[in-house]
């Protein structure tokens, strides 16, 4: 059984400060972490590997400046990772990445299951997994909380209103995993060191493919264009609710409703 995990990186939110008055994002510490939802997807794949013989292959979800997250995934227990590089790749958006990844999956010889995060921590976009399913012509299950596989079937638990439901699908299928669904494991220290030293079989498990070999340059043209940033008004702290108890309670409830959208 082959499980492909598509994962990406994100700027650690603890290292950035948003200054609303200046209208700028200050990056104090440029440190990248694995997308939390992708990390859960990797954990789901590794749990399948714990249960049955399976090969876990890792692919990047977006253009990456370096292969650190792939090395991290290998150290955590993945068997093989493919770093995608290429000139036209840097600007690729989710639509282009879906085409590129579909071609990469074909070149890997297909898979039984593809897992990725249901959403990204920074931009909150969840389209990549579903776009990839469409590009491959596979069915999908979005926002999975738990997975169970047998040889040719998959059982997935997903949220349904206030409760959870079990879905069943025949393989191959694409599943996006909800952030926080599983408690992810940590990378193995010795494997991590070996990967960076280029020693042992883990180091050999990392390959680099050129995007130009997989798809035409046209297919990598992004559809979306960034048009800038917008900052919410500066927070006005120290506001007190006025009136009697009931009036205060009502204004607090209104404020909470606006924030939580209950």
């Amino acid at each position: 059984m082959r499980v492909i995990v598509v994962l990406g990186h994100v700027l650690d939110p603890r290292g950035i400060a948003v200054n609303r008055r200046a209208g700028r994002v200050f990056i104090n510490r440029r440190e990248y972490i694995l997308q939390p939802a992708d990390r859960c997807a990797l954990e789901a794949a590794l749990r399948i590997k714990d249960e049955m013989p399976a090969e876990v292959v890792v692919l990047p979800r977006s253009p990456l400046p370096d292969d650190d997250v792939l090395r991290q995934a290998l150290a955590t227990g993945a068997d093989r990772a493919v770093y995608l590089a290429g000139d036209g790749l840097a600007a690729a958006d989710d639509a282009a990445m879906a085409r590129l990844l579909a071609a990469a999956v074909e070149r890997l010889g297909g898979a039984d299951l593809i897992l990725t995060g249901a959403t990204t921590l920074d931009t909150g976009q969840g389209q990549l997994g579903l776009r990839l399913a469409e590009a491959l012509g596979w069915p999908h299950v979005a926002d999975a909380w738990a997975l169970k596989t047998s040889d040719d079937r998959l059982e997935v638990v997903r949220q349904e209103g206030a409760g959870y439901a079990v879905l069943e699908a025949a393989l191959p299928v694409m599943v996006t995993v909800a952030p926080g669904a599983l408690e992810p494991r940590y990378p193995d220290g010795a494997r991590l060191i070996n990967i960076y030293r280029g020693q042992g079989e883990v180091a050999a498990a990392l390959e680099t493919w050129d995007a130009a070999d997989l798809v035409d340059a046209d297919a990598l043209q992004p559809l979306l264009e960034r048009r800038g940033q917008e900052f919410p008004p500066e927070r006005e702290r120290g506001v007190r609710a006025s009136g009697g108890l009931e009036e205060m309670a009502r204004s607090a409830a209104d404020a909470l409703r606006r924030q939580v959208r209950v």
């Binding site: 920074d122 389209q127 069915p139 409760g163 599983l182 917008e230 607090a252 409830a253 924030q259 209950v262």
Partner: protein, 343 residues
């Protein structure tokens, strides 16, 4: 002149005429909730109406479901110029394949400029797959829309890092432009009771679903969320008075219970639930400080919270300086009222 005559006159004038041949337009795919049209769909139609008026385009609504033809009126009244209805038992609950096939056929024929979905479970899935199938761009969780007149492209803002700031993006070339609209982000439209029209029915060919629902997941419990990743925290302090009320409030809001060191000393919470710079820092969307005075260590630990609501009887309590909204009141008196107001 009596009112019924006026009604008749208005109704005649407001009979919505659709353009012949179609083409273009802004389309909204409706979400249904409890047998009615979801508020997010009406909000999306309102947003589409504003844009369409600037573009000189029509707004269309699409309804998919079983026995939903009557709901078309709600879309007309919210501002749709035309409504397409796919009414079939196979569409009674969301089935990705059949829904996608109906929408892909419709949009291939109509060539919309933009297609809006609610940023709901269904909308998110349909939008992403349709966008890939039709070669369109997709911007998810849109909270604001503007128009780039040069390219007729919609510019959409979406929250980054949970709303710390917003990124603006557009899809200048490819059509249709797909967008999912965050519930509650746009104002509900004016409902014009005089608007009406006759919807066009669509053909539905049911497809065999590849993913089958087996049943409810009995006994499944999601893993506990650690305090530093909780989205909503209700924290108690020494002045909280009745801790049971704090727990009830947390349950009502779907949040986690925490507290300051005072609450731990009172035996209300475990030491793992203490919010304090020396124990755990938190970054929830909403932090409710109930009866917490707010010393330096506590206030520094909640610095990253997006919205802080404080309830404390002492007007001088330092917690009020960091709170977005402060209630100078005894929690024991105000919490029952707050619970009532939230219902």
């Amino acid at each position: 002149m009596d009112a019924s005559y006026l009604d008749l006159l208005m109704a005649q004038q407001e009979e919505v005429a659709e353009a012949e041949g179609g083409g273009g337009g802004i389309w909204v795919v409706a979400d249904l909730v409890d047998g009615g049209v979801a508020p997010v769909t009406l909000e999306a139609i309102g947003a589409a109406r504003n844009l369409a008026d600037s573009l000189g385009a029509y707004v269309y609504g699409v309804l998919l479901g079983d026995g939903v033809a009557d709901l078309a009126l709600a879309l007309y009244q919210a501002g749709a110029d035309g409504v397409r209805v796919a009414d079939h038992p196979a569409l009674a609950s969301f089935a990705a394949e059949t829904y996608l096939a109906v929408l892909a056929d419709l949009f291939a024929a109509e060539q919309p400029e933009a297609v809006l979905f609610g940023a709901t479970d269904m909308g998110q899935q349909l939008a992403a797959r349709l966008a890939q199938r039709m070669g369109g761009g997709l911007i998810e969780h849109t909270v604001a829309l503007s128009l780039d007149e040069a390219t007729r492209a919609l510019q959409a803002s979406f929250p980054v890092y949970g709303g710390e700031y917003f990124e603006i993006a557009a899809c200048p070339q490819a059509r249709p432009q797909f967008l999912t609209v965050e519930p509650g982000a746009f104002a509900a439209p004016f409902i014009d009771p005089y608007r009406q029209g006759s919807p066009t029915m669509l053909d539905v060919t049911p497809l065999e679903p590849a993913v089958r629902r087996v049943g409810e997941a009995d006994g499944f419990a999601p893993p506990p969320v650690p305090l530093n990743r909780a989205r909503l925290i209700v924290a108690a302090g020494r002045q909280a008075g009745d801790f049971a009320l704090v727990e009830r409030l947390a349950a009502a809001l779907g949040g986690q219970v925490a507290g300051d060191r005072g609450a731990r000393d009172a035996g209300w919470i475990e030491s793992g639930q203490v919010v304090d710079l020396r124990s755990a820092t938190v970054a929830p969307d909403v932090y409710l400080a109930v009866g917490i005075r707010g010393d330096t260590f506590h206030n520094a630990a909640i610095e990253q919270a997006r919205f802080i609501l404080a309830i404390h009887p002492d007007p001088q309590a330092p917690i009020f300086e960091v709170a977005d909204l402060g209630l100078e009141a005894d929690p024991q008196q105000v919490l029952p009222l707050l619970l009532q107001a939230l219902e």
